[in-house]
Subunit: 576 residues, 2 copies
């Protein structure tokens, strides 16, 4: 059978890896305070795979034989486990559904092509068969970009790019690497690092997501301030479409009409299958440092990030957490490690003597890269701005800890789910002048939703990516759910999404649209914008065979969201 | 009548402004050497407007009355001069045609709406009438993006955005300005500067081009290294389409599927009429300097620009001219001004003692912006790299001169045309590793074309915009034409375009596609890419009413270009 590895069918990451709190003394009290959950009660693990109801594959013998003739018998499967793994991404909605045996429709067959030529043959076979094709990368998507439509009658082929994972070529004279779309983060960084290069793209999903997935969903990594979003990084593309490969050569910039490159980026499989991306790569910097700072409050932290973005400084990371998330970070630190060695009682009492309210304190990480002297110069520019806004540098220790822990957060979600709590994330981007309002309104909307549900909910936030004219705010929310967790989640999630839009933010900064965010597309890009995009999809895919139903769907109105809140299922209310 | 000003119908810029050589002693010998033209012979001025054959407007009285009812009688005209001015842009092909009374088809009516509501009414009226609409900004386009199709039978409406020229709002807290699409460069900079801001977008056409035009053609300014291309600068957009306005709110970044923003950017009127753009603006820097450097040769200059782009330095301009263009710059300097005070015999003899071959010497300009200390820091980083590549700083003098002269070059074209010489420009962008080959092959292709034509031609180049993975090379070419100048021009131009593509460059870095470059679209973005774009156009404009025929047209093959060279009309050959 194929050697492509997948995440757990019921949660994040690899089997045997999970979140542990035994070595984090502040964690249990924190969770008790945040969502009124007692984590000492024994967890309820997910059901066993055998308990799932998986419908038999809907595929003709001849079509299956054709797929086998293309990829070989060991790279085409109708196995239940493979099909379930390829059904969902890893949103809280996905995890809730799979844990509750709510699987409306699974792919009928999963194929693992070896190269672009095989992808082309699969695509053409799907078109001829009148089937449906859904490309699959690492399966880390949290916007519902992967799931088949519930009422899909046609044969659904999940095309897994997992075997296309090689760095094909590095143009060392230009800083461009040609990489296959199925390469996962660690995979491609290792191949690049071996030759002294880095992509510099580190989304939270890094360990389990692919280059093709990043491109198809407009991903952004935590060092995007320096390296750019994936839309900046991806210079050349190859995408297989019926009967042809769209080939966009790597160009630093071009004036060739509406950008086909920017049509493919973010297309979530609706236009075809991305097989190869030529990306900007950078020499590994001589020095890479993540410095930690404390700000007396959120407003000061935001103002400092804004001033840094306007200044002559150009750090690789600008990140500041609100007071709640700062508290969360401190609560998940291990004993006598990282933050804790800095956040000593001594420091705290110094800050208190300065007049800081410790509950308002905000933790910030700012990254620097380059030559040793350049990093010193940049740090000096940044320090001056930090001090101007009342902030305080606390050194590299917490930054190093952040660097180590940065990809672990998704495991916490499974830990909470085992204990009846739902947690997820929503991020937006908005102009600087609107960020405070986006923040205030989003927190208020979430709390209003929690009140309507009658739950003790939690929401926290950090600013994660800065641009000249605005920034990304990244929210994490959690609550102990009742018997109808998905309906409850929808109340909270849609309240947050609507708050984003109403305050001038976008429906997502880097998590894509899928079916989770598609109801807000019209409010975000206007009906006219939706019509242009719909025209592109209809022209490119008249038979609706490529990941149909994603990105554009039935619009929601602010009134409908308000109505959802007004009729929220109270905690403990049985499913309706 | 409307107060919107236009350029000369027969050339660049305003009436009464032109290129003069009387104060430039080295110019005449330079031209003699470059294209074997004796500029002391009396010029042949363009024909008089009365000599032009302008067909009567094809418009029904009722449709004309409808347009008048929308914009008012003083803002709708079928006047011959207005219609001719709105027929062409300012490419050499355009100027040759208008000077030779070769006008196949002019717009039938020119309208000057006052606001977006009027634009919407015009667009809807055009759709209902079954007419054709061509948006018009400053008219500086050199890619044939403005001309009506020669065989167009329907009524052609030229929609001039000239009255929409206000900066509507500056969001000072975000660095975002909402500006009407018809605002020309000096107009909008003046309004922004008055409040301490700058757009930082200075294309060569700056004095006569508009914000809407920049967006519709993917413009790039000479300080793009710092401020970005217009595609980076334009964050929010409003575009009028039949029955609706596409509204894209200003966002620093977003993950909302294929980018509608990037479909509108570069759309050259094919999707609708851009009425408003929200752009990133920057505080005017405390210090702005353009430093000049000499490199011993082109290879050294290119290598230095590449190393700067990879380094920790981030200058606002990186520009280096090849030896021929450096010679041209020196030849167009005025006596005892700018360059001349630096490029003294003393300096030259110092360089010669260092072993420089003066004919190979390349002039470079590098721009710096920011606080005084930041500019010092950046200059130090850059100087080190310049020295490493054998370069030599020669101070601010020539840079200041460059800054003053930068928008004057287009006038030279008219001066040459009056004397029987055709000059034009073509630019491309390519990865760093391919630039030398792009350069060599393009120069060789132009010279081969000149040989085929039997003319003494000239081609020179500068690197004008740097990116992480590549740069823009900007070529200027000229030759004394014979009796069939357009056929001769096509031999040279298509040789250059084909060389770009063959060597890995794009058909245009920032001059757009129009009809001049559309034959190379398929070679540039592949047949599959063209099909995606055609699908978008067909869906958005099923009646082909919005600037039809632009961007996508009949493809050319490399063989056809070779054939064109093989059958080049020799100098003096009568038109065939």
């Amino acid at each position: 059978m194929t050697d492509v590895k997948h995440m757990k069918w019921w949660g994040w990451g690899l089997e045997g890896v999970g979140f542990h709190f035994e070595d984090k003394p502040d964690f249990a009290p924190f969770v008790q305070k945040a969502v009124a959950l007692d984590i000492s009660v024994p967890p309820v693990p997910p059901l066993s795979f055998d308990e799932l109801t998986v419908e038999p594959p809907r595929i003709t013998a001849s079509f299956e034989a054709e797929l086998v003739s293309i990829v070989g018998a060991s790279h085409s499967t109708t196995d239940d486990m493979a099909r379930v793994v390829h059904t969902y991404g890893k949103s809280i909605r996905d995890l809730l559904r799979v844990r509750r045996n709510e699987i409306a429709r699974v792919p009928d067959v999963v194929v693992y092509p070896a190269d672009e030529a095989e992808v082309q043959r699969i695509v053409d076979a799907v078109v001829t068969e009148g089937a449906v094709l859904i490309p699959f990368g690492g399966g880390s998507n949290i916007a519902g970009s992967l799931e088949p439509l519930a009422d899909e009658k046609r044969t659904i082929v999940s095309l897994d790019l997992g075997r296309l994972r090689r760095v094909l070529d590095i143009d060392e004279g230009s800083g461009l690497a040609r990489i296959q779309a199925g390469a996962q983060g660690p995979d491609l960084e290792e191949q690049l690092n071996a030759r002294g290069w880095t992509l510099g793209h580190f989304p939270d999903s890094f360990t389990h997501s692919t280059l093709g997935g990043w491109v198809a969903t407009r991903s952004s990594g935590m060092q995007s301030d320096k390296y750019g979003d994936i839309a900046d990084i991806a210079r050349g593309l190859r995408m297989v479409r019926p009967g042809t490969v769209v080939v966009l050569r790597p160009l630093p910039s071009t004036s060739t009409g509406p950008s086909v490159r920017e049509m493919i980026i973010g297309s979530e499989g609706r236009l075809g299958v991305i097989t190869e991306v030529t990306v900007q790569v950078h020499r590994q910097p001589a020095v890479r440092e993540v410095q930690a700072y404390f700000f007396p409050n959120w407003k000061a932290g935001l103002a400092a990030m804004h001033e840094i973005s306007e200044s002559d400084a150009s750090p690789s990371i600008t990140r500041v957490s609100d007071a709640r998330e700062s508290g969360f970070s401190l609560a998940t630190r291990k004993e006598s490690k990282g933050v804790s060695s800095f956040v000593t009682k001594t420091l705290m009492s110094v800050l208190q003597r300065r007049g800081w309210v410790l509950e308002d304190m905000c933790l910030s990480f700012i990254g620097f890269e380059g030559s040793s002297s350049h990093v010193s110069y940049e740090k000096k520019l940044v320090s001056k701005i930090v001090r101007k806004h009342g902030g305080l540098g606390v050194g590299k220790g917490p930054g190093a800890l952040y660097d180590q822990k940065k990809f672990d957060t998704p495991y916490l979600r499974d830990f909470l789910l085992d204990r009846g709590a739902a947690a997820d994330v929503s991020e937006t981007a908005a102009p600087w002048s609107k960020l405070q309002k986006v923040y205030d309104d989003t927190v208020a909307a979430a709390n209003k939703a929690y009140d309507a549900l009658g739950v003790h909910g939690w929401i926290m936030c950090h600013l994660s990516h800065s641009y000249h004219s605005g920034a990304c705010l990244y929210f994490t929310f959690a609550f102990v759910h009742g018997d109808d967790p998905i309906a409850q989640y929808e109340v909270v999630k849609s309240s947050i999404q609507q708050a984003f839009i109403d305050a001038g933010g976008t429906l997502s900064h880097h998590h894509a649209v899928g079916v989770e965010h598609s109801p807000w597309m019209e409010q975000d890009i206007s009906a006219g914008g939706v019509a242009l995009m719909q025209g592109l999809f209809d022209a490119a895919d008249p038979g609706q065979q490529f990941n149909p139903g994603k990105i554009l769907g039935t619009p929601i109105t602010p009134e409908e969201v308000a109505d959802r809140v007004a009729h929220a299922p109270r905690a403990g209310t049985p499913a309706h």
